[in-house]
Symmetry: C2
DNA sequence: GAGACTATACGCTCAAGGCACATAGACGGG
DNA sequence: CCCGTCTATGTGCCTTGAGCGTATAGTCTC
């Protein structure tokens, strides 16, 4: 089966994971990813344009995302936009990262870290 | 109050968070952190000795951890060991990181990422 | 005292991100 | 029409941090 190992991509950088997360929503172009990440994670992860586009290039090269020619919104077109979507590998890697993070959070809960910090 | 902002330290690198997590257990020396992280996160985050000790130096400098002279185990002494523990800042930062990660995981769940991936 | 294990630390290199800047089309106002 | 602003993608320079190998040295057992 020559199984593809998502683990070899772990751990994802926080930025890379944010991008995959934004794309899990559906296809987006770069600038829209920028706005989505900024708005969701607010101040904690400031995604700079330069960082984003270079991260996109890396993710493309690793086949975790792909460029899709189908622009999802026939109105509101902009020739400059490049749309990206998750590949099956990208989904697999993102899921593996979710599992890893859940492991960390589970560990955090069993220790003194979250005592008294429950909302 | 001149409140200390844990957010300025976010996002933590996966390695840094693993270390803080290992120390949340209680004080440990470097080599023991190595074994703890290796055993818990298994293959996904391979913590190399060089990486660890340099990360410890950075965390010390940021006052997220401190060296404690009280060796917790009076028997089984080893002069070479340097024990580390979380500072209050370290705990605050680790908690902030936990909040950030929980936000990411919440986002992952509301999207198609985890559909069908429930254990 | 030889060798394995424990323990800390440095050197070299590359990957990734922060930040500034370049480019350019779209859009609205004066 | 020209200007500024927003949208959109991208490059250049520098720093940080991690991967990986290696150095150093104490401990423990045989």
């Amino acid at each position: 089966m020559d199984k593809f190992r998502p683990d070899t991509f772990l751990p994802l950088t926080p930025v890379a994971f944010e991008i995959l997360l934004a794309l899990a929503d559906g296809e987006r172009h770069g600038y829209s990813i920028l706005q989505e990440v900024e708005s969701r994670s607010g101040g904690t992860v400031a995604l700079h344009a330069g960082t984003l586009y270079r991260a996109l290039a890396r993710l493309l090269e690793s086949d975790l995302i792909e460029e899709c020619k189908t622009s999802p919104d026939p109105a509101n077109q902009d020739e400059r936009r490049r749309y990206y979507g998750l590949t099956s590998r990208g989904i697999a890697v993102a899921r593996a990262e979710v599992v890893r993070l859940e492991g960390q959070l589970r560990a955090a809960r069993t220790r003194r870290l979250l005592k008294g910090a429950r909302a």
